[in-house]
């Protein structure tokens, strides 16, 4: 690298200096701000309220200002030699563009709105301010370039918030769209989020002493924060559904001997000691509490049926494609077709079921049509993942088996398939997760009977009968229209179908349905993960 370094790079670092501590503190502050911004975006904290005794907006602004000043100080400290660091001659183009974009936005909006220069003026302002920011980042040495403009950005934003220039009631009516406006509720958390990411990035670079190590720390902090946000988002989503759904779920909950319904286990009639009407009842006029048991059972059977259809077909197709077919036109066509099938919208599958299956199964909606439709939806993913799994089984196993004189099919059955099983199970898990939540196909092929008074939970196992004509076994339950959870939820939300006076809180009912759907899907995942773990253990060490 060209350019003289003002400070020597030490091989062994001494104890943490104050600069390190400051930089670490700055990273901490930015992480906190990040969390606060996310919380504000989800409405967990309100902008008009107070937080720790201070107005939220003021707090956010203040913290941003402090962070910005710290970043500038860190850059200055390095520049003037108070702190040992190894900065590069320039912060680089990426950092430059990264700093230029927010400044350009500020410049543009200030020019067009605050100064009243209109759109043209806004563009000019954006370009000018952005260009200055770019220059200020790229031209000086790295420690100044990566902290100066960004620090200034933070300070400006912070001051703007804390002095109330943009307060909780600020609104910007955008002239070019009706009803479109950027409110403070949107702007303040989002702006905080992005500027604090910049702040964290700059502080991390300072912590790493700039240069290659600094960029490494910067990237690390950014990636880490983003990964955290994904996890946080997932957690918030699940927690939100749980929190909203639990009251509905537990309506009429009773614990105690004899409170629950009677069930027969191994011929012995036992009353369950717990009663959760939401999952134990269907919808009926005479129920004390309404429940979604039919929907739960429907979803369960749908998944079972789809898996039973898709897995043998899919694994068989994968075996054929990997082991028997020669790589050529035919396999390529199959690959393309499978990928295409996987990308097909679910409503198209529903239409296929509606047009093709329903007329053949009693001309009405039925569980069987739903199973078959969802099975075909699951099929491409099973084929793709099984193929991948089988291709990844090393050829050495096949060679070893062949050298022992074992036939091809036996090799596949005894060596290749068992080794590919974790991959296949992964595919099934992923697929089940998708199809269990699909509404459109169910809507078109299966759904019905939710709120018909007296609707029964479909009883598949108990409905098998013998018939005198081929195929000698029939199951009328499969040909009934029934409910499934996604459909149930859809119906509840959109149609607001009358649940009758037995349901005290319709909103809670909806959330509770959503919660049950989530739980059912997650439990399928859990079963799949445990199964895959089991197969993986068998393949590796005991």
């Amino acid at each position: 690298m060209a350019g003289a370094r003002p400070t020597d790079t030490q091989l062994v670092e001494d104890e943490t200096t104050e600069a390190d501590a400051t930089a670490a503190l700055a990273i901490g502050v930015s992480a906190t701000l990040f969390a606060l911004a996310v919380a504000a975006m989800f409405g967990r904290i309100t902008l008009t309220g107070t937080l720790a005794g201070v107005q939220t907006v003021t707090l956010l602004g203040g913290l941003l200002t402090v962070l910005g000043l710290t970043v500038i100080a860190l850059g200055a400290g390095s520049r003037f030699g108070y702190v040992e660091s190894t900065p590069d001659p320039s912060a680089g183009l990426i950092a430059g563009v990264g700093a230029a974009v927010p400044w350009a936005l500020i410049g543009g909006s200030v020019a067009s709105e605050t100064l009243g220069l209109g759109t043209g003026g806004g563009v000019v302002g954006a370009v000018v301010v952005g260009g200055v920011a770019l220059a200020a980042t790229v031209l000086p040495r790295e420690d100044v370039g990566s902290t100066g403009p960004l620090g200034a950005l933070l300070v400006v934003t912070g001051l703007v918030f804390s002095t109330g220039v943009i307060g909780p009631t600020w609104v910007w009516e955008l002239g070019w769209e009706q009803q479109a406006a950027i409110t403070a509720d949107f702007l303040i958390p989002v702006a905080t989020l992005f500027t604090t990411l910049y702040g964290g990035w700059a502080s991390a670079k300072a912590y790493g002493g700039f240069g290659a190590r600094g960029r490494h720390m910067g990237a690390y902090v950014l990636v880490y924060l983003n990964a955290l946000s994904i996890v946080a988002f997932l957690f918030i989503l699940v927690a939100y559904v749980v929190v909203q759904g639990v009251p509905g779920l537990l309506t009429g909950f009773e614990l105690g001997l004899g409170t629950g319904p009677e069930t027969t286990i191994f011929g012995v009639s036992v009353a369950l000691p717990v009663s959760i009407p939401f999952v134990m009842n269907g919808v009926a006029l005479l129920n004390d509490f309404q429940g979604v048991l039919p929907a739960i059972v429907g979803t369960f059977w749908l998944v079972i049926g789809a898996v039973l259809l898709a897995v043998p077909l899919g694994v068989g197709a994968a075996v054929f494609l990997t082991e028997y077919a020669e790589r050529g036109r035919f396999t390529q066509v199959v690959e393309v077709a499978t990928n295409g099938l996987w990308s097909t919208p679910s409503i198209v599958f529903g239409l296929f079921g509606f047009a093709f299956l329903i007329p053949r199964f009693g001309n009405g909606k039925s569980l069987l049509s739903g199973m078959i439709t969802l099975g075909f939806m699951l099929l491409p993913l099973v084929v793709i993942t099984s193929r991948e799994a089988m291709l990844s089984v090393p050829d050495e196993y096949r060679d070893a088996s062949a050298a022992l004189g074992v036939s091809k099919w036996q090799t596949i059955r005894s060596v290749v398939l068992p080794a590919a099983l974790p991959g296949v199970v992964t595919g099934v898990i992923l697929g089940v997760g998708r199809i269990a939540g699909e509404t459109a196909p169910i809507l078109l092929t299966m759904a019905g009977g939710t709120f018909v008074p007296g609707s029964q939970t479909v009883d598949v196992i108990g409905s098998f009968q013998f018939t005198s004509a081929p195929p000698f076994v029939a199951n009328p339950a499969l040909l009934e229209a029934t409910s499934a959870l996604p459909y149930q939820l859809f119906a509840l939300i959109t149609a607001g179908v009358g649940l009758g006076s037995n349901v005290s809180d319709p909103n809670a009912f909806r959330w509770a349905t959503a919660l049950v759907l989530l739980v059912v899907v997650l439990s399928f995942y859990a079963i799949g993960i445990v199964t895959r773990y089991y197969f993986r253990r068998r393949l590796k060490h005991t």
């Binding site: 020669e326 090393p394 050495e396 196993y397 060679d399 070893a400 088996s401 062949a402 050298a403 022992l404 004189g405 074992v406 036939s407 036996q410 005894s414 060596v415 068992p418 080794a419 068998r538 393949l539 590796k540 060490h541 005991t542």
Partner: protein
């Protein structure tokens, strides 16, 4: 051939009737000389006879007219520089080259007098009798016991399935006996007898290779083909494999490909030298090949002047 005893140095020198190795300007040895150098006289029966074997991978002529007789119950080493076709040759002996679509094989390979490259040959039976051990140990991701029982089970000689167990016709005792015998023959029993149900992938490299040898023995072969079996192993594991090979040669016919000449010198009874281009250049007793090779090219290769 004539022998002279030099009275001053008391040394014997042996010269062949072909006084100088005849080479063309291109460095190829003419056929008559080559045939003389590769004709190997030995007592006892030939387990495998190869005549004029040519192998093509697409347009690439990988083996050129190789003829060779492999004596039974001994160790035959195939040496030569990389890419000279020795592995290709080995894989012809149990028809493993059939698994490569672009391979074309001309010539004759006779096993116990029977041609293996003709219609009607039962590949399953052939590969039972001619076993193979590969360069990198490749045990199945199953337990040690299952690895060894795999071959006989798939051939139907051992039945330990659920049905057999229910009907009390399970061959579990025979299976365990077979497993013990194979592991003892492969010098692995002492190390693993207490963990036969552990996954085979948990063994060390040398142990895995011996397991592969034990697995190869489980189908009771007559010939064992080994493709650089110790090249992925450390010196101690290699020494154990070499001792094992010497023991195996008392009962089986062993053909081993190795790029390590010293290994070939240590363990083999006769050595065949392939040189670049898929040519078999010399074949004879190991001590003669390493002490006084006929071919100048072989001498250069062995002394490390090329290859």
């Amino acid at each position: 051939m004539s022998e002279n005893q030099n009275p001053q140095t008391n040394q014997r020198t042996v010269t062949t009737t072909a006084e100088q190795p005849r080479t063309t300007t291109a460095g190829e040895t003419d056929e008559r000389t080559r045939d003389a150098w590769t004709a190997y006289d030995f007592d006892g029966d030939a387990k495998m006879t190869v005549e004029d074997l040519d192998v093509y991978y697409g347009d690439d002529h990988a083996l050129k007219g190789v003829s060779m007789e492999i004596p039974e119950r001994s160790v035959t080493a195939l040496i030569g520089p990389s890419g000279c076709g020795k592995s290709t040759y080995l894989r012809c002996l149990n028809r493993m080259n059939d698994r490569i679509p672009s391979a074309r094989i001309d010539g004759s390979v006779r096993f116990d007098g029977q041609e293996i490259y003709q219609d009607g040959v039962n590949l399953v039976e052939l590969r039972k009798r001619v076993g193979m051990v590969f360069q990198s140990p490749n045990p199945f991701p199953k337990s040690i016991r299952e690895n060894i029982a795999y071959g006989p089970q798939k051939h139907g000689d051992l039945d330990t399935g659920l049905l057999a167990r229910l009907l009390n016709r399970s061959d579990a005792a025979e299976r365990d006996e077979l497993v013990e015998r194979c592991l003892r023959d492969a010098a692995l029993w002492d190390e693993v007898h207490d963990r036969l149900d552990d996954n085979a992938l948990g063994l060390s490299g040398g142990q895995q290779q011996r397991l592969c040898i034990a697995r190869c023995l489980s189908v009771d072969p007559e010939i064992i083909l080994m493709d650089e079996p110790a090249s992925a192993l450390d010196p101690i594991a290699t020494a154990k494999i070499e001792d094992l090979i010497a023991d195996l040669a008392e009962e089986y016919t062993v053909v081993i490909v190795t790029h390590n000449m010293q290994q070939a010198a240590r363990i083999s009874d006769q050595t065949a030298v392939f040189l670049t281009g898929g040519e078999l250049v010399e074949y004879g007793d190991t001590d003669r090949v390493f002490e006084d090779p006929h071919s100048e090219r072989v001498e250069d290769y062995i002394t490390g002047k090329f290859g």
